[in-house]
């Protein structure tokens, strides 16, 4: 399948906000070798397993994590936080009480992280925290657990989420002294497409 059309997105955001321009340019299905596809997956995995992404891709206990170089040790989010089955804290304390919805989300080192959409956990099916590369790969390639997306739609999701100031863009530009996810959004989209064009191969 070829979707040759390049989709250009450019955004005019308020001053201080990250301007995100990304392109979904899928290679022809089958045009990427399994080996190159697996190498692309490794780079995708480095992004999705990074604390900026994985800390909120947690399981059914609905408790976000604090992990990464900013924290002395890995553990549950402080303050007894529980995002509830709503995954937005509606049953307890809304995430957005502190993680405010902001037009300038790359904020200072001592501010709570903020995005241009309301802060929330990823759906429970999309658990990444503590999962192996093979487990995450299986989840991401399974439409029943990835929001019903094929490989091109996965890339489009990344582009579109970033375009409205969601967490994908934030992960690469989290502001303050937070370590960003490795690489940049465009390379991540390109890697997802390379992996997809190779047939979404997963490590053993």
């Amino acid at each position: 399948m070829i979707r040759a059309a390049l989709v250009m997105l450019s955004l005019v955001l308020p001053a201080g906000a990250e301007v995100t321009t990304s392109v979904v340019a899928p290679p022809q299905e089958g045009s990427v070798s399994r080996e190159d596809g697996l190498a692309a997956w490794d780079r995708v995995h480095a992004v999705v397993s990074h604390p900026r992404c994985a800390n909120c891709h947690v399981g059914a206990d609905n408790i976000p994590m604090w992990s990464g170089p900013e924290y002395p040790q890995t553990g549950p989010h402080g303050m007894n936080i529980d995002a509830g089955d709503s995954r937005i804290g509606a049953e307890t304390l809304p995430c957005a009480t502190c993680h405010v919805t902001s037009s300038a989300p790359a904020n200072g080192p001592n501010d709570a992280p903020a995005a241009m959409i309301d802060w929330q956990l990823a759906p429970v099916d999309m658990i990444w925290f503590g999962q192996s590369s093979a487990q995450i790969c299986a989840q991401m390639s399974d439409p029943a657990r990835n929001g019903g997306r094929d490989w091109i739609q996965l890339a489009e999701h990344l582009r579109d989420d970033a375009a409205h100031g969601g967490f994908v863009a934030w992960g690469f530009a989290p502001g303050g002294a937070r370590q960003p996810a490795p690489g940049d959004l465009q390379s991540h989209i390109d890697d997802v497409l390379k992996w997809g064009a190779a047939g979404q191969p997963c490590p053993e």
Binding site: N80, C98, V100, A112
Partner: protein
Amino acid sequence: MELTVNGQRHQIDAEAGMPLLWVLRDILGLTGTKYGCGIAQCGACTVHIDGMAVRSCQIALADVGGEVTTIEGLGTPDAPHPVQQAWIDHQVAQCGYCQSGQIMSAAAMLALQGEPDDQQIDRIMSANLCRCATYPRIRAAIHDAARRLATG
């Protein structure tokens, strides 16, 4: 920029990035809302925006998308909000510094939760710190306020 606080509209001449807490305290003189940490760690600055608890130290003036209620607008000395009345009856405050934030968080929770149990209270209120450790009285007052709200 226009801002509605406690039912009153204000024209605010300030930078778009000024934290709401600064606007409330330094421009509008509403000093019931306290500055504890400035980094979303203590809850002393909690206000409501369209009824939801928000840390006013975290949100920039330009991002305030609804009506703000502060402790001064929740109730008055003559007609206190049921949470404020429970706080008085249980004499919750020690130094008092954290208490307007505690009350605003509790009031936002009780608008949604009915009668929370201890575990729910701890889930919801753990992000409001009290250096005087009035936590047992906070819990008792929340249970009491929940009963009052339930019975009208």
